[in-house]
Symmetry: C3
Subunit: 227 residues, 3 copies
């Protein structure tokens, strides 16, 4: 991705909102490029995308990187890429991304990743990063506060946007997992909404409209458009 | 597998029992060809086999397909095969298989797949299909009723046949997982039975005899032999 | 690894302590060679190493095998290696290792493997072996008793040494998983300890010092140094 390992200290910019956007294997990952592009129309925004293996069929990583200059991190970057960990003292990618982030958006969040979060599993980059996050209270009063320390974010919020087939959503374990994610992990959950889904079913399960996701971020951090 | 994507609407036959047979990584998957062959000796039966990666060492998929003309679906068929999802509007295999099925047999069900079902994980075709099934009451009175709508099954039953080493079966989490699968997901669980196992241990853990599995299906749907 | 499949009956030596050392994807797996080497300085000790895929970046398996003659078992040995299971009657590696073992050390135990153990998942050799272990009471009075039957260990203890980033350790699910592992599975959990970690964080999360792990084994089984 570059000639140096990614570290929080080298990549955080004081006064900016550092957003990790996690894409998972829901068809709603087709919206990832739109979310990235629209967020980047605002001042003080930096983005890193983390993509699960299953998510990658839904958007064109190379093009997204070329057009917007964002990194799209994959599991290989943690383990086998030339800049991944080789010896004691080297940067550990999921830890550096956690340090870098002020906000983690899981948009879309698949049923599978939701189950992994509720079960504490961390067998890929996305879930390892999340497993290394301390839960916080999502407190609207404090929310506009952006950590200004260059080296590390002190307060990381996680917002989850479930997106799945209606019957997957109605599966009884979905509600149980969402409860753990909200109450134990203190993540903010938004959606899903009802509409026609990619599979042809109609019902609750679709990801919150991508424009609304962007708007939530913009409102929360009082971001201004660049031009 | 064919020149067209699999869809429920094109592959359901009114008046037939549509059976998805899931094979998992238990040595009892050596019985898969026998179960398929015997079920197909009956009228009004259609079968799709879904095989986890670990199950595939235990039977010869190519031969099963050649001899009985059944599809053996693998994870690649969902993701990378030429007929897998490429763009919005394409069929999604695990959703189509769920729509197609009147009955899902997990025979054998490994300890690992059982744990995944109880945890709501769906990282392969077999568990994605199951995650997209609404739980129903297994009601013997209603059971002979077969959905006659060509496009989609309205009532899908799931029968689970655990098969594992005796000590795996005695592991305290097995009972907890079976409880979730029965009470929360409303699956029917049959067996395991006691006998000498492949690993040389003797005790409870073996899959219900494959002939008894076939008989349960035959009795439940009042199937008649073809000749 | 050799020209014959591994079986407990052919590889147990009466009067010896048979130790399976499981390495997982924590950076503390760099200590695996030191633990092996130091344990082997004692009489009556035999070791098999089982390494998860993620652990293998942290130590040099080939060198460890060459220098100390220990087997380093990987997932491939269960499935695809020339000596893995091919037909009914063949040895099943995770079952044979369970029969062989008097003591299983998970050192280090990653957050992910801990979550899998608490969830009963067994999708690799390490967790399949553990899933096939009956829980026992870790009773210090009985502990010096070593099974003398050549064919199979009758009493297997499991000791867990968690090792993870401080914030991973503070994640609320860690405590819940440790509780299941201790109370339901009856594993002994030691550590983690506080110190500077590989990722640069300081806090609770580091694996118990490798020398202390060796000392616990030596004391428990009253092992004597060879020379
Ligand atoms: C074409 C296609 C579309 C899918 N859409 C969804 C979806 O919207 N939501 C979901 O939870 N799973 C969906 N799945 C299933 C997931 O991709 C699957 O469970 C995968 O293992 C998720 O992996 P991840 O959670 O690591 O990204 C879809 C699968 C395919 C093949
Ligand atoms: C030769 C062999 C036989 C096995 N037999 C069983 C079994 O009978 N039951 C079981 O639960 N696991 C058994 N396993 C372990 C599973 O294959 C393993 O847990 C795997 O990850 C299951 O994957 P799946 O649930 O995705 O099919 C066996 C493994 C091997 C190598
Ligand atoms: C360089 C590096 C160091 C890691 N150190 C740890 C660690 O100390 N503890 C931990 O729980 N996970 C750690 N991880 C994350 C795990 O390797 C990851 O969750 C993996 O999926 C664990 O797989 P396993 O449990 O099958 O071994 C580390 C990852 C990398 C890339």
């Amino acid at each position: 991705m570059s000639t140096e390992s990614f570290t929080a200290v080298a990549n955080r910019t004081p006064g900016h909102v550092h957003i990790v956007l996690i894409a998972t294997g829901s068809v709603a990952s087709v919206k990832i490029p739109l979310i990235v592009k629209e967020l980047l129309q605002h001042k003080r925004v930096k983005i890193q995308v983390v993509a699960t293996k299953a998510s990658q069929v839904f958007f064109d990583s190379a093009r997204l990187k070329a057009e917007h200059g964002v990194n799209i991190w994959q599991d290989e970057d943690e383990w086998t890429a030339s800049l991944s960990w080789k010896k004691m003292g080297d940067a550990i990618l999921h830890i550096e991304l956690r340090r870098w982030a002020d906000l983690v958006l899981i948009a879309p969040c698949s049923a599978n990743t939701l189950a992994k979060l509720a079960g504490g599993l961390c067998d890929n980059l996305a879930t390892s990063l999340l497993r290394a996050l301390p839960p916080i209270q999502t407190d609207v009063e404090q929310a506009s506060l952006i950590a200004d320390r260059p080296g590390e974010s002190t307060r990381v919020e996680v917002w989850v946007f479930p997106a799945m087939n209606t019957l997957m959503y109605e599966h009884p374990l979905t509600a149980m997992h969402l409860k753990v994610v909200k109450e134990t992990l203190k993540y903010r959950v938004e959606g899903p909404i009802g509409k026609g889904l990619a599979c042809g079913d109609v019902g609750l399960g679709a990801m919150t409209e991508w424009k609304d996701i962007v708007k939530m971020v913009v409102d929360h951090y009082r971001l201004e458009r660049s031009h």
